[in-house]
């Protein structure tokens, strides 16, 4: 019952190994078993909204179908993977022409039409484990720490497809912060974009965006900022010019659960 198909995605295998390792260790400690599907492919990083794009959506459908065949819900951690997979699942459930074209190509034993339930790891904590239960398992609470949750764009929007939380006034990460004993900091830029992939060709724009986010959190007295996204972490750390510490939420989770040293070799 508490076994899930787990999709790490390309970056969690390379530049964001911490995000992955702490997620796995914490899940185990919380009684959740994560099983990675064989031969998964990169999600593509960004969902292509165009209706005449099919090939770019196939890898996400393969992941969704792997979970369906395993008979389990799918768990993601990276915000980008989550966004691509959720938008793909929404469109294949609601756009018959897209579903027909995808299935015509994939020739699966049974057509995939959006059957898989997808949880972001934070939703798993909220809806499967429960923040009250998580609180009981915390051994190193972040007492007195003012923690700013950074949602960015990918976890929440488009709200009708992502359906995680109120896209304009979310609370899931703040509730997570409370569960691990910290004090959440609310700030204006928490659900605005960090600049994302524009860092590849326009560092100035990425710097401007990420500095706005960091300054907004700092003005509200944050001691640190947490994110689920490797690209947000990169922009906030490397492009913002701010020295406010930035962590993956899974790192704080593992620390709160007393697991950090064991996995922080």
């Amino acid at each position: 019952m508490n076994t899930f198909t787990y999709y790490p995605g390309c970056t969690l295998r390379t530049k964001a190994k911490d995000l992955d390792a702490y997620a796995r260790a914490s899940a185990e400690a919380l009684g959740i078993t994560l099983e990675e599907p064989e031969n998964w492919q990169c999600c593509g990083g960004a969902y292509t909204t165009a209706k005449d794009e099919i090939a770019t959506k196939l890898s996400a459908v393969r992941t969704l179908n792997a979970a369906k065949e395993a008979g389990r819900p799918l768990i993601t951690v990276c915000s980008a993977c989550h966004n691509v997979i959720k938008q793909t699942n929404y469109d294949i459930s609601n756009d018959e022409e897209m579903a027909a074209k995808v299935n015509n190509y994939l020739k699966l034993d049974e057509a995939y039409t959006g059957e898989t339930t997808v949880y972001h790891y934070l939703e798993m904590l909220r809806d499967v484990v429960g923040f009250d239960n998580l609180k009981k398992k915390v051994v190193n609470p972040f007492k007195g720490k003012k923690i700013a949750a950074y949602y960015g764009c990918l976890l929440l929007r488009p709200g009708k497809a992502l359906a995680m939380d109120d896209p304009e006034n979310p609370s899931i990460m703040e509730d997570f912060i409370k569960a691990i004993g910290g004090t959440p900091v609310i700030y204006a830029q928490r659900n605005e974009c960090c600049g994302g992939y524009i860092t590849m060709e326009d560092k100035a724009q990425a710097s401007k965006r990420s500095a706005k986010v960091m300054d907004s959190a700092q003005e509200q007295g944050a001691d640190m900022i947490i994110t689920a996204c490797p690209l947000c972490l990169y922009n906030l750390k490397k492009n913002s010019g701010s020295d406010l510490p930035v962590y993956y939420f899974t790192e704080l989770l593992a620390e709160a659960l007393g697991l950090k040293e064991a996995n922080n070799e």
């Binding site: 530049k15 990083g45 960004a46 292509t48 909204t49 929007r157 605005e192 590849m200 724009q205 965006r209």
Partner: protein, 127 residues
């Protein structure tokens, strides 16, 4: 006016540009506003007018961060980001018109840049 190009963008985006009431909320909330020559609400009405090539030739199509702020906050559910995407695709699908070339990637890298940035940029800028 290029009707064929207009039809292609309308079909590809799936957007009904006639729903727009020109309130400008999409552009007001756009994190790339200062970097854009044409702003999200202008994309919507220029596509309505059929003025697609002007947009295709503007650097604005590479400034959209796909953050979906305009999609979420549009009071008429017009979804301007989908129009920007359809115009950008019309541009990069032209032979020899890729905006990001694989050979140029190595000089953009640093030791911390996540793979996610590279694959996303490829998906956005290159066919």
């Amino acid at each position: 006016m290029n009707n064929n190009l207009k039809e292609q963008v309308l079909r590809s985006s799936g957007v009904n540009v006639l729903k727009c009431m020109r309130c400008g909320k999409c552009s007001g909330t756009c994190p790339s506003y200062d970097e854009m020559e044409y702003h999200p609400h202008q994309f919507v009405y220029m596509v309505e007018k059929g003025d697609i090539e002007t947009l295709m030739n503007s650097k604005s199509i590479y400034k959209c961060l796909t953050c979906f702020a305009c999609v979420e906050r549009c009071p008429r559910n017009v979804e301007p980001a989908k129009v920007v995407e359809a115009v950008r695709l019309a541009a990069i699908r032209k032979q020899g018109n890729n905006h990001l070339i694989a050979d140029n990637i190595p000089e953009m890298l640093d030791e911390d840049l996540p793979q996610q940035a590279i694959v996303t940029a490829f998906r956005k800028y290159t066919k």
